[in-house]
């Protein structure tokens, strides 16, 4: 067929429209509802979000419960009840009731104090993260993390300057910590009496003075860390257009055509070759950690993560070089278990969940046509679903002084598919190794 005539026909009908048959949107929607089995995927993001919200809610409720019913005191009540001799039951019950009442009063007094510390700390973290100079080198980021960690220390340490350490408190500590031994039983009454007299400050001092390795809890710790590495993910994808007129954009959606009787065309248009290189995300974070007892602790915080990817797309002689930068802000919730520990050194295991939201993202594309630069396009990147991940790590912590310790946590994380089509390392390598390095500061010790 005459090529010119063919082009004329093409031109004549390019973008031609005709009145669509009587097909209303409602009809489309009803068919869409029928096919909804296939459309579940995008809603996974919402489900995961709901699950994450539940976890956060339960976690938050747990923390609130712990604050209101200080673990330290609760353990004591239980202990006393367990040790009651039958003949003393009636009297002891009334004593216990009184004590529970006292505990409640005290918890309420203590609550604003803890909240204040946590609140200040988090505010401070917010001010420091995410780091606005996101393109800086890792060295700078480390500096920023240290800097912010120092700031945290300054803020959080101020309310704690006047912690008294009294002999009475020491005595209380020893009574309390040896509560499981029967020898301690006669001293129980004494404990009950002294307990209501304690002030907030003395309560804090108690925890501080408690020797390591003994049962206890209630200590708050501020954590600042950086996470990064040298691992990258590379991917090369060769996509051939199924129909030439479709200009090789997007993916082939029609499985019947791709797999069925039709043979996919190999030489209709030059194939699209995409090379993607995702660099290891860089993360800085801060968290407030609460010690449940000497083994278990939980933390919650904020984490800022920066992703960088280089994407090169070749279609024949057209080369698009894209640099993608994504900024995520996440809320991690972790639980830690101390495996072994000495006065200066601790080894612990951590596990946790994190929900992350894309704050902002940018894609800058340099277009090269036949080897000649053909302009630069910049577009912003959006992602609606929350990215949920789970992680586990082993941590080692070294304590410099009473307040300051340094830690390193090699870990592994898994990022769930959130249904978005954003090309990131989370999608490319859902399982990711990472190393967190940071500092911890005791707040109320």
């Amino acid at each position: 067929m005459n090529e010119e005539w063919r082009k004329q026909l093409q031109k004549k009908l390019d973008g031609h429209r005709q009145a669509a048959p009587q097909l209303s949107w409602d009809e489309v929607e009803s068919k869409l509802a029928l096919a909804s089995g296939k459309t579940q995927t995008p809603f996974w993001g919402q489900r995961i979000m709901a699950a994450a919200a539940m976890v956060a809610l339960i976690g938050g409720a747990g923390v609130a419960y712990l604050l209101l019913n200080n673990k330290h005191n609760a353990a004591q009540v239980a202990n006393i009840e367990r040790q009651n001799a039958p003949q003393q039951l009636a009297t002891q019950r009334s004593a216990n009731n009184q004590m529970v009442g006292d505990n409640n009063t005290q918890s309420q007094q203590q609550l604003p104090h803890n909240n204040l510390v946590a609140g200040r700390y988090i505010t401070n973290s917010n001010a420091n993260y995410p780091n606005p100079n996101s393109r800086q080198a890792q060295g700078d980021d480390l500096y920023a993390a240290n800097n912010s960690a120092n700031n945290s220390a300054q803020v959080v340490s101020s309310p704690q300057n006047n912690i008294p350490t009294t002999a009475a408190n020491q005595d209380y500590t020893s009574n309390n910590t040896s509560k499981n031994s029967t020898d301690n039983y006669p001293r129980r009454a004494n404990t009950t009496e002294t307990h209501p007299k304690r002030t907030d400050a003395s309560q804090d001092a108690l925890i501080t003075n408690r020797p390591k390795g003994q049962k206890g809890g209630g200590a708050w710790t501020a954590t600042a860390y950086v996470s990064g590495g040298t691992v990258t993910a590379n991917n090369t994808e060769l996509q051939r257009p199924a129909l030439a007129m479709a200009r090789a954009y997007g993916n082939t959606v029609d499985e019947e055509i791709r797999k069925g009787d039709y043979v996919q065309l190999q030489d209709a248009l030059p194939a699209v070759e995409t090379n993607t290189r995702h660099y290891q995300p860089f993360r800085v974070g801060a968290a407030a950690r609460y010690e449940l007892n000497h083994r278990w602790s939980i933390d919650a915080g904020l984490a800022y993560t920066r992703h960088r990817s280089d994407i090169t797309r070749r279609t024949g002689t057209i080369v698009n070089e894209t640099q993608q930068t994504l900024h995520y802000l996440g809320v991690p919730l972790n639980i830690h278990y101390r495996i072994v520990g000495t006065k200066r050194f601790n080894v612990y295991a951590s596990a946790g969940v994190m929900g992350e939201k894309l704050l902002t993202g940018k894609r800058t594309t340099d277009v090269n046509y036949n080897g000649v630069p053909d302009g630069t396009q910049t577009e912003s990147v959006k992602e609606k679903p929350v990215q949920v991940s789970v992680n586990a790590a082993i941590g080692a912590e070294y304590k410099f002084s009473g307040r300051l310790s340094i830690f390193a946590e090699p870990g592994i994380g898994y990022y769930f598919d959130n249904g978005s089509d954003l090309n990131s390392i989370y999608k490319e390598r859902p399982t990711n190794f990472n190393l967190n390095v940071g500092l911890r500061f005791g707040i109320n010790k």
Binding site: E4, R17, V28, P42, L243, A246, A268
Partner: protein
Amino acid sequence: MRFFIGDKEKKLVNRLHDGDKTAMQDFYTLYADYIASVGARYIDNDDDLKDLMQDCMVKMITSIGQFDYRGPGSLQAWVTRIMVNVSLSFLKQKRTEAFVALDTDLPDEPDNGYPPLDEIPPDVIHQMVRELPTGYRTVFNLFVFEDKSHQEIAQLLGIKRDSSASQLHRAKNMLAKKIEQYNKNNATR
């Protein structure tokens, strides 16, 4: 010709990616007539066309997540491809006899030439294409509008390469005849 370029199209894609329901309706409003036209080139029965448009819309909406915006016109190109694929699938399944007939050897036909198209409105050409027999029409559309080679058409429709060429020749001759007739009628007026 494209309905909209650059930002507008991109914004619509973003809204679709976000699962915005009104975006789906906007998408349908904007593309329904275009999809109808692409489909009508392949499908001559309006009831079938309606069903296939419905399939096409559902396919597009459910797989919009796989669509990656690649610049102006990419959404339209994607839409075209889906509609063509849906139509071909349908023809392949329901009208296999049309393609079987394609493989029967046809005696050589003299070339009717290439009559000028300038004076013919697009709607008329479109209708003329629709009136071609299904088998001829499919080959003609794939060759002319989807830029397929005979080798590709043969693979797509499961026919011989030579059949594709002879079908195209026949389709072109039929169309040329119609166009000549139209031009003649038009000139006499």
